[in-house]
Amino acid sequence: MKKIINIILLIFVLITAVFVSAAMGQTKVQVLTKTLDGHEKWTKGMKLEINGENAVIHCEAHPGNSITYEIEIIAKHADKERAENDLKKMKWISGRQGKTLFMRNYIELAAGDARPESSLKVIWHIKIPESCPLTINNYFGEITIENTNSTINIISEFASIELINTKGEIMVESKFGDISGKLMDGRIEIKSTRSNIHLEKAAGIIIIDAMLAQINLEDFTRLEVLNLEAEKSEISINTGNKFRYLLDLENTDFEKPAWMIYDPPDKNESIRKVNFIELPDRPIIQIKQSIGTLEIN
């Protein structure tokens, strides 16, 4: 009996220790936020270029003739003084050079300065006129663009990209950052390395060059041409039998739909070239894939 009581006591003490220590182990994190806001008058032909680091960039179109911005710089650290010092190291600057308005956030280090220990993040809320051309460079973070009708140029690494209802000439170059798009229209050019691509209800001319990606394309609306070149990728296209297909597949597992009947039939060769023209007046989907999978539904 005494032994059982001791065992119960042991379990009780252990559980208590775990919970107590868990409660004690929580560290209060100091969160410091600095907010900047302002606006710049926009005239036709003026471009906006954003150079961000550790930035979460939300950009959307608005009806006014101005570029408005609200920037939150956030530093998190257990030590308030450290967070304050690190917050000062994160700089935000803007200025016009010719017809381009530049905005940049970056960590600035003077000689002898230690690198920041706080978790630093900058959240951008930008509103631009619908037709304002936009360039964004970002490293580590997120980019969201909505409702624009202009030229968009994005170069990013380790940053997820979301484009919603964007029209115009759109160029995206991403490494290690997933790209998703809804209701995109125009000339869309995507170059991705280790970045998954998901496009829904895209229209216009779509050019994709991808390496090591999961590519998922759904429900095209008014597609003019799709040119997809991929390497070591998994491609899934869900469109139905509405297009012509020109496939050049090398070492690719191809799961073809029942409606796709072409001549000559597959002979399980490592290289397959397929020209499927059931609807000759329909836009063409051209896919060149080297190593990977392809699924068309």
């Binding site: 042991l10 252990l14 220790a17 560290t27 700089k91 600057i93 200025g95 000689a111």
Partner: protein
């Protein structure tokens, strides 16, 4: 009672283990930036800046190393280097040199000439690079070279109106280190020794040995676009340098043995630059002196020369804000500038011949305006290319007893500094 000891121990252990697990807080990690899987990823940022990622089959080089600080010497050199087989290249050089007399040199000589040469280079670390999985075909590396050429030289002694036309066949061997830098730059430094066979008479044939520094623009066809974000640690696009202490290493040591004469010079210099607050203005001061000794081995004649220089100038970095906005620089001292300042420079000679001393010298004090490009590279390097014009008074003395004279004088400066930052 037997159980109580392990219970206490277990409790303490569990407490510490759980504390260690829970005490972690958010922090911003700075991992190494290059962990990708292409060729570039295995290179350090400085190797990337040296263009190790590009297979360079040929390189057209234009030497911009024009130095008129002390010797009033201007060089223009065009080279075409072409890789022939693994580790070997051919380098063709068209070289024009001019020793302008700007009036400071009391000898009043003008020298100019042209040289065409061809050398074969062996990049002898080729195999080592292969073992380390580094790219080997980028014409960047340490090399040994053998070459030959043709030189036509013209000298005028303006004080005596004596002119000399000379033709040479130079045969030479070199050891050097060449690096491409970014897309359009190169540096080539080393030692050179050889024999100038004169076609104008055996008395002009001579052995030579000297150091050399070539730097300037390089052109080739590159496959990849440079990613400036990868170069951030090299180009210091986050740095806000407020104070620079720097020394120009170009031509800091020159050794030459030419026509039975030994010439050696050392040009120590130090510059300090202070940024004024966070503004684009700075104060730059430069103090230096070139000490030169030459000795004719077949005559009792030697010369000591000293060329001190002091410059104090204010600089306005007009492109700093633009570079900051474009992500190419922090709020430091790495941008294009214009400058206005005062300069003093002198040249003092003591000639010893058969136990007799003869002294002469000149100095210049004046104002100077200029423009230039300064870039801070990595932790300890900098580059400063500048051009300037000035006006002031030149003082000359010569002869025994001394004859002093002074007159208004304009100066023209071209400077190419590659150096070390402390």
């Amino acid at each position: 009672m037997n159980l109580s000891t392990p219970i206490v121990l277990l409790t303490v252990a569990a407490f510490f283990i759980s504390m260690a697990g829970k005490a972690q807080t958010d922090s911003l990690g700075y991992a190494a930036e290059y962990h990708h899987d292409s060729l570039v990823e295995y290179l350090t940022p400085i190797e990337y800046a040296f263009m190790f990622h590009e297979e360079t089959k040929w390189l057209l080089k234009s030497n911009l190393l024009i130095n008129s600080d002390y010797g009033s010497v201007s060089n223009l050199k065009l080279s075409l280097e072409k890789k022939i087989v693994k580790g070997f290249s051919l380098n063709a050089v068209l070289f024009n040199y001019t020793g302008f007399n700007l009036g400071i040199n009391p000898f009043g000589t003008d020298d100019y000439g042209i040289e065409l040469s061809l050398e074969s280079r062996w990049y002898y670390k080729h195999q080592k690079y292969i073992r380390k999985n580094k790219p080997t075909a980028n014409l960047s590396g340490s090399y040994l070279a053998l070459g030959a050429g043709y030189r036509k030289a013209f000298t005028s002694w303006t004080s005596a109106t004596e002119h000399t036309n000379l033709e040479f066949i130079p045969l030479f061997a070199k050891w050097g280190i060449q690096r491409r830098f970014l897309k359009r730059g190169f540096v080539d430094v080393g030692l050179m020794a050889g024999w100038n066979k004169s076609l104008s008479g055996d008395s002009w044939s001579t052995l030579f040995f000297n150091t050399y520094v070539d730097a300037g623009l390089a052109f080739t066809r590159d496959r990849q676009k440079l990613d400036f974000d990868k170069l951030c640690p090299v180009l210091r696009c986050h740095a806000a340098d407020r104070f620079l202490l720097k020394t120009n290493l170009v031509n800091i040591i020159n050794l030459a043995y030419v026509r039975e004469s030994m010439i050696g010079s050392i040009a120590p210099n130090i510059s300090a630059e202070f940024k004024i607050g966070t503004s684009p203005f700075s104060i730059n001061t430069k103090l230096g002196s070139k000490f030169q000794y030459s000795r004719m081995l077949n005559h009792d004649f030697n010369t000591y020369a000293m060329s001190p220089q002091l410059t104090i100038e204010g600089r306005y970095y007009y492109s700093l804000h633009r570079r900051m906005l474009m992500g190419k620089s922090g709020n430091g001292l790495s941008a294009n500038y214009i400058s206005l300042g005062a300069t003093y420079r002198g040249q003092y000679y003591t000639h010893n011949s058969d136990g007799n001393n003869y002294r002469e010298g000149s100095s210049f004090v004046g104002l100077k305006v200029g423009t230039g490009i300064q870039r801070l590279i990595s932790e300890h390097l900098y580059l400063d290319l500048n051009i300037g014009f000035g006006y002031g008074i030149a003082y000359n003395y010569t002869g025994n007893p001394r004859i002093y004279s002074n007159k208004g004088k304009a100066i023209f400066d071209l400077g190419f500094g590659i150096g070390y930052r402390f």
